[in-house]
Symmetry: C2
Subunit: 192 residues, 2 copies
């Protein structure tokens, strides 16, 4: 998505070789008009796929999934809640994931009520790095007997291996901006 | 908002006298089409007020603020991040608030970059209980020299005193569904 790549180059702050901050329009302050363009593009990328529900994870994924839902004709949006490993998990599907930015383990929880057998669920997130979050969400989908319709993120850091890992697991992965490398603050996107 | 009251009565689960769970359409699973109606109503309630920015707090407020923004003609949406009291807070405005549902103290943080002097900022959240969260967000707005344009929530639990407290502080408070009491699971709305 050209406009997204341009915006990342203009406003993103690359820190070292791993961290990309997009706080001005995706992660802290949200540009909703721009998110609508992101949502439209996600819907276009998955126009050949049946999507009964969108699953994301708090907090940053919520805005993207909520704004995108309109372009998928309003499927329910569910967000996984993050909690410490010792939190009560009655009647929830859970999966552990390591936070890339914070380094700690956390548990993703989704009430069993909101994952139904046979549903086709699209996983949406802001970033795809090592794929930890997506693997956890996919595990929750499958625990409930539902299908992973696809996995999409706004920004993929390809060099961290997430999309390769998820494709090897058999998932359909389509991301909007794919970063090949960040080298001392310089961002290079993958060729289309 | 009549449709909201009806939906709360139909799908909300009142637990004891204090807790209301609306996980099926606001807090865990999100009905985006319905949230658009909520957003429209918020914009109608504040049509006489200048809104330059919307401020909310992760996680549940994000969906409401993101969907509502369209009806306010797309002001930037900023969400405060919650962290433990010992987290680094460089270059952030911070305020402490006690979580009603979790009981612990947490710190709300907003980067100084995203609150500008003189801006008129509308505070949006899912619930208003004792008003703790709104007081913290209003404090952040004012720390940055901006003005609180108003405070709105989807569901107010009036008997917990939040709106009275905030109005005494001089804020304009307009909520969508106002609950007068919850008594052994029975919800009573305030008269209009």
């Amino acid at each position: 998505m050209k406009a997204l790549e341009e915006r990342i180059l203009k406003e993103g702050r690359a820190i070292g070789n791993d961290i990309l901050k997009v706080d001005s329009f995706i992660n802290h302050q949200l540009d909703i008009r721009f998110m609508e363009e992101i949502g439209k593009e996600m819907a276009r990328l998955f126009s050949d796929v049946k999507v009964d529900k969108i699953l994301t994870v708090e907090a940053s994924g919520i805005a993207i999934a909520s704004v995108a839902a309109r372009y998928f004709d309003y499927p329910p949006v569910v967000f996984a809640k993050k909690s410490q490993p010792n939190t009560m998990n009655d009647d929830c599907y859970t999966a552990e994931a390591k936070s890339f930015t914070k380094g700690n383990m956390c548990v993703y929880r989704v009430s069993k009520t909101y994952i139904k057998k046979g549903e086709n669920i699209l996983i949406v997130d802001d970033f795809m790095a090592s794929g930890e979050a997506s693997v956890a969400l996919a595990g929750i989908v499958e625990s409930g007997g539902a299908n992973v319709a696809g996995i999409t993120s706004v920004i993929e850091k390809e060099y961290q291996g997430g999309s390769e890992r998820l494709r090897k697991m058999g998932y359909l992965v389509r991301n909007l901006a794919v970063i090949k490398k960040i080298d001392s603050g310089v961002i290079t996107f993958a060729e289309k």
